[in-house]
């Protein structure tokens, strides 16, 4: 098996999904926790138009920072997101083909589909599916969406979210993220180590709680104001900002178990308003 670099893996996946009729789009330019937040998934899952897209989405999970100390955890990482709407009967086989296209030997290794009913409470999105294990390494989240923004979907989309770093770990047989080869001798650590350390420090120790508490309020207000004017995309971008502000507050330890559901409900309400605007169009 040729040991693909990170860059080559992205390249192969783009080629693969492009050949399956996906538009290859670019990431959303705001901090998000996952590829699902991209309008290409959030909005496009709604309504009755067919849609196929794939893209890399840099994702931020402030709570997951480990000061570059942990071989498996990052507060900033990359998802490769595929959305196929409506889903197709042989989607699982196509997915397995994509792994083969990356040179993964599915006879020598075990792929296991382990129950995981995915849910994004902030987006009011949920679905049934699995986390996909490759020899117990979770490499993909595979979900048949049932709801987005609390709205029952008529055309069921299939969302496939690859953890790019995880796949590279397997392919390159390096179980430390920072040792992964990005391309031609340059490592993931070369590119991201300092970023991880500084952002871990920022998220856990430095982020100004008072400021974020205020920002959350501002973002929420602005999202409502824009939604009132039917400016769906700008409103949605403030939903994303509010969601990220909440994540930072969470990492900073400023949100208690009791407070959490309330924040999440506030973001969800905003996301729902945007979804309703999308459907109305």
């Amino acid at each position: 098996m040729k040991k693909l670099s990170f860059q080559e893996v992205v390249d192969k996946l783009n080629k693969f999904w492009s050949s399956k009729g996906c538009l290859i789009v670019e990431p959303v330019d705001t901090e998000v926790g996952a590829g699902t937040f991209h309008p290409a998934t959030f909005f496009k899952s709604l309504g009755n138009d067919s849609w196929r897209a794939a893209y890399v989405q840099p994702s931020r999970r402030p709570c997951d920072g480990r000061y570059a100390d942990n071989p498996l955890r990052l507060q900033h990482y990359y998802q490769y997101q595929v959305i196929i709407k409506p889903t197709i009967p042989d989607i699982k086989k196509v997915y397995l083909d994509s792994l083969k296209a990356l040179g993964i030997d599915l006879k020598a290794h075990e792929v296991r589909f382990v129950e995981d009913d995915w849910e994004s409470p902030t987006l009011g999105a949920s679905g049934l599916g699995w986390e996909v294990w490759l020899d117990s390494l979770e490499i993909t989240q595979f979900t048949y969406f049932q709801q987005v923004a609390g709205i029952e979907l008529d055309l069921v989309p299939c969302e496939i979210t690859y953890g790019l770093e995880r796949i590279c770990m397997f392919i390159q047989e390096k179980f430390n993220l920072f040792d992964l080869e990005w391309y031609k001798g340059v490592t993931y650590g070369d590119i991201h180590r300092r970023h991880e350390i500084e952002y871990s420090k920022y998220n856990f120790e430095e982020a100004d709680i008072e400021m974020y508490l205020k920002m959350f309020e501002y973002f929420e207000k602005e999202a409502v104001r824009l939604a009132d004017k039917s400016l769906m995309y700008p409103a949605y971008s403030f939903v994303l900002k509010a969601s990220h502000a909440f994540n930072v507050l969470d990492a900073r330890g400023a949100v208690s178990q009791n407070e959490r559901p309330r924040y999440i409900a506030r973001v969800r309400a905003l996301a729902k308003r945007c979804a309703e605007l999308y459907i109305k169009k």
């Binding site: 942990n70 009967p89 290794h109 679905g127 049934l128 048949y144 069921v156 407070e259």
Partner: protein, 689 residues
């Protein structure tokens, strides 16, 4: 004519995308039961039914199924012969009507001798259909009848199942049975009957789930024995694993010893819950090895073993990192970090919360007369009970809250009773959960709950219908359960007042109003927790007298419902009812004390005499919680005199002074019982025979 009954084996195979492991067995049970039911209703006889399942297939194998339904012949009797036929032996209109209704020609009518005479009757035969045809509509019904905790749709047909169905094969003998069900495609089996088809599958994996499970268990035990480890298999994980693999292969691996420093709870959770690994132990202690059951032969075990170990180590490294970080300082020194944790919007941070819990716990200790040493321990436990929320381990494994607090506080040298209380103050988590075992835990648990209820209700949060996201009902209920089981004699009003006071004006809803709200929820839960066998009106009557002493509430409900059929009880109830009715008319008036000099009529003097003679006794009996005796004395003492009084004396006299005095006496008599035990006027239809 004797028809040779032909039969064949039948097989249904549902191919589905990976079902959650826990879904498979219940689905198989349902599949089997549904076939038995339906085939019986369809009059299709059959032999044994066997079900086989994996995550991706549900199979029902039915031996020797008849190829046609049994014929159904029913006898339906009609009118008696004398009505159905005239004297010329011709059918009467009634006789013809019967034939017509049954859809038969006159020639098909028959006669039958019964004990009541000769009657007309018909034999109705329902044509038998080929089983193939019956199955065509029965199979989709049966598949759709399989219930799952969660279902999904995957296309526009509206079909729901736990995961998408890929295809279905149905074989009767060698014949493929085709049917329509959503957009599901039919799998065609060529050149095999069910037995041959199953034989072919059997060559690729272990078909029978029980055989497979035994096989896995055997493998694990053998490996443990060979390695000199304790022998034993985690039953839940075994059951789950059995429905994740078809051809089990055992792989034993090893991880770095240093991870054995991770607390046992955390290590076991990481291994069995996250990675589905069987842990290994020697002489009861975990060792740095694992067993994985993987699927399929011919895998690259060498590489897989390394991957499994690397991933486990990466996970444990995270846990070890948390553990080291968390234990860098003595546990108690982490407590001030609670200042950064919001308890609840408007209610301040968690540090302020534990300060309140310290005060509340001391307040309760005081009330319960707990000795000074123990009181200090309780206060310590209250101070430390939320500290683990700022630890990284609990951030990662929220379900370990409390357990980590115990672990860390023990490590920092806290007393074991303090450590236990930290863990136990979260109990009970639900109606049937355990209660705290230590008195320290019980006191802190009560403090935490009353503080939650007060804070949430005070900031305007209330349950809506069954939606109670802040657990106000759960908190109230848990508190009552603890107080009751420990027979804690707390003055609840005092505790509530203290809890409100400790929020220092931070609450939106103020003193009396809030106190009433809190008491309302506690009463609602008391009503719910008192046994169902006790009448609701009686529970309410008792609660009307207050719930200051929760232990007494339960006792009163028990005692009163036991004596509710006694005459003296009914008399007491009647006294409450009549005095209460008269007082209703004076609602809002300022009623003073009884002035003996104003008692004019003989009958009112008698009532007062009874009061002067027995009220002291009754109060004393109530104080001693002798509710039965108190009720007896009350009923017997006042029922007679009061009866006479109402018959002869007008309470609402024109003279305002007389009226006021009589009302005062009524109030005194009424309150003697209704404030002390229960407002029996709330009971329906009180009749004293």
């Amino acid at each position: 004519m004797a028809i040779k009954k032909e039969k064949s084996d039948f097989l249904l195979e549902i191919n589905v995308e990976e079902l959650p492991a826990g879904y498979v067995r219940p689905a198989l049970d349902r599949l089997k039961a549904a076939f038995i039911e339906r085939l019986k209703a369809e009059r299709i006889a059959h032999g044994d039914i066997i079900v086989y399942g994996t995550a991706v297939s549900l199979i029902c194998y039915i031996k020797e199924m008849l190829l046609r339904q049994e014929e159904l012949s029913q006898e339906i009797s009609g009118p008696p012969k004398r009505i159905a036929f005239d004297e010329n032996n011709n059918l009467t209109p009634q006789g013809m009507g019967f034939a017509k209704n049954q859809g038969v020609r006159a020639e098909e009518l028959k006669m039958k001798q019964t004990p009541k005479g000769e009657y007309l009757f018909v034999v109705k035969k329902t044509a038998s259909r080929p089983s193939r045809e019956v199955l065509r509509s029965a199979i989709p019904d049966i598949i759709k009848s399989i219930a799952f905790p969660k279902t999904m749709k995957w296309d526009d047909s509206g079909m729901r199942f736990a995961r998408p169905i890929q295809s279905v094969a149905a074989l009767l003998g060698r014949e493929n049975i085709k049917f329509e069900m959503g957009n599901v495609s039919m799998k065609i089996v060529k050149g095999a009957d069910p037995a041959a088809y199953l034989g072919k599958i059997e060559k690729t994996y272990i078909l029978d789930q029980d055989k497979r499970k035994k096989e896995i268990e055997k493998m694990i035990l053998a490996a443990q024995k060979k390695a000199g480890m304790d022998e034993g298999v985690d039953k839940n994980l075994l059951e789950e694993t059995n429905f994740m693999v078809k051809s089990p292969v055992l792989m034993m691996g090893e991880f770095d010893k240093k991870f054995l420093d991770v607390p046992k709870d955390v290590l076991a959770a990481s291994m069995s819950k996250h990675q589905r690994l069987f842990t290994l132990s020697r002489d009861g202690g975990l060792v740095n090895r694992f067993i994985a059951i993987i699927d399929g032969k011919g895998r690259d075990l060498k590489k897989m073993r390394k991957i499994y170990a690397d991933i486990l180590e990466a996970r444990l490294k995270d846990s070890l990192f948390f553990y080291k970080e968390d234990t860098r300082l003595p546990f108690a020194e982490l407590t001030p970090k609670l200042k950064d944790l919001i308890f609840q919007k408007d209610l301040g941070n968690m540090f302020e919360k534990i300060q309140r819990l310290e005060e509340l716990s001391s307040f309760i200790s005081e009330k319960l007369g707990i000795n000074a040493d123990r009181k200090e321990d309780i206060k310590k436990a209250a101070r430390l009970c939320k500290t683990d929320l700022v630890t990284q381990m609990v951030g990662e494994f929220p379900s370990l809250q409390g357990a980590m607090g115990m672990e860390y506080s023990l490590r920092s040298g806290e007393k074991s009773s303090v450590a236990a209380a930290i863990k136990e103050h979260y109990l009970p988590k639900g109606t049937d959960d355990d209660l705290p075992e230590t008195i320290e835990g019980a006191v802190v648990a009560i403090s935490d709950r009353i503080d939650n209820i007060t804070g949430f209700l005070g900031s305007g949060i209330e349950p809506k219908g069954s939606f109670d996201p802040f657990g106000i009902r759960r908190n109230s209920q848990g508190m009552i359960q603890i107080i009751k089981s420990r027979s804690f004699r707390l003055e609840l009003r005092g505790l509530i007042k203290k809890a409100i006071e400790l929020y220092k004006g931070r609450l939106r809803i103020s003193g009396d109003e809030l106190e009433k709200k809190i008491t309302g929820y506690i009463k609602e839960r008391l009503e719910f927790l008192a046994p169902d066998t006790r009448p609701l009106e009686l529970k309410r009557a008792v609660l009307e007298a207050g719930c200051d002493d929760i232990v007494a509430v339960f006792k009163k409900v028990d005692v009163l419902s036991d004596i509710s059929g006694e005459k003296y009880f009914l008399k007491a109830a009647k006294v409450c009812e009549r005095t209460s009715n008269i007082l209703k008319g004076a609602r809002g008036e300022n009623i003073g004390a009884v002035n003996e000099g104003l008692l004019k009529e003989e009958q009112e003097k008698e009532v007062w005499k009874a009061y002067s003679a027995d009220s002291g006794t009754i109060k004393e009996l109530i104080k001693q919680e002798k509710y039965k005796e108190a009720t007896r004395v009350y009923g017997e003492s006042f029922f007679g005199p009061l009866h006479e009084f109402f018959d002869n004396v007008l309470v609402n006299a024109e003279d305002a002074a007389l009226r006021g005095n009589r009302l005062a006496m009524m109030q005194a008599v009424n309150r003697l019982y209704t404030n002390g035990i229960a407002d029996l006027a709330m009971l329906p239809q009180i009749v004293v025979q």
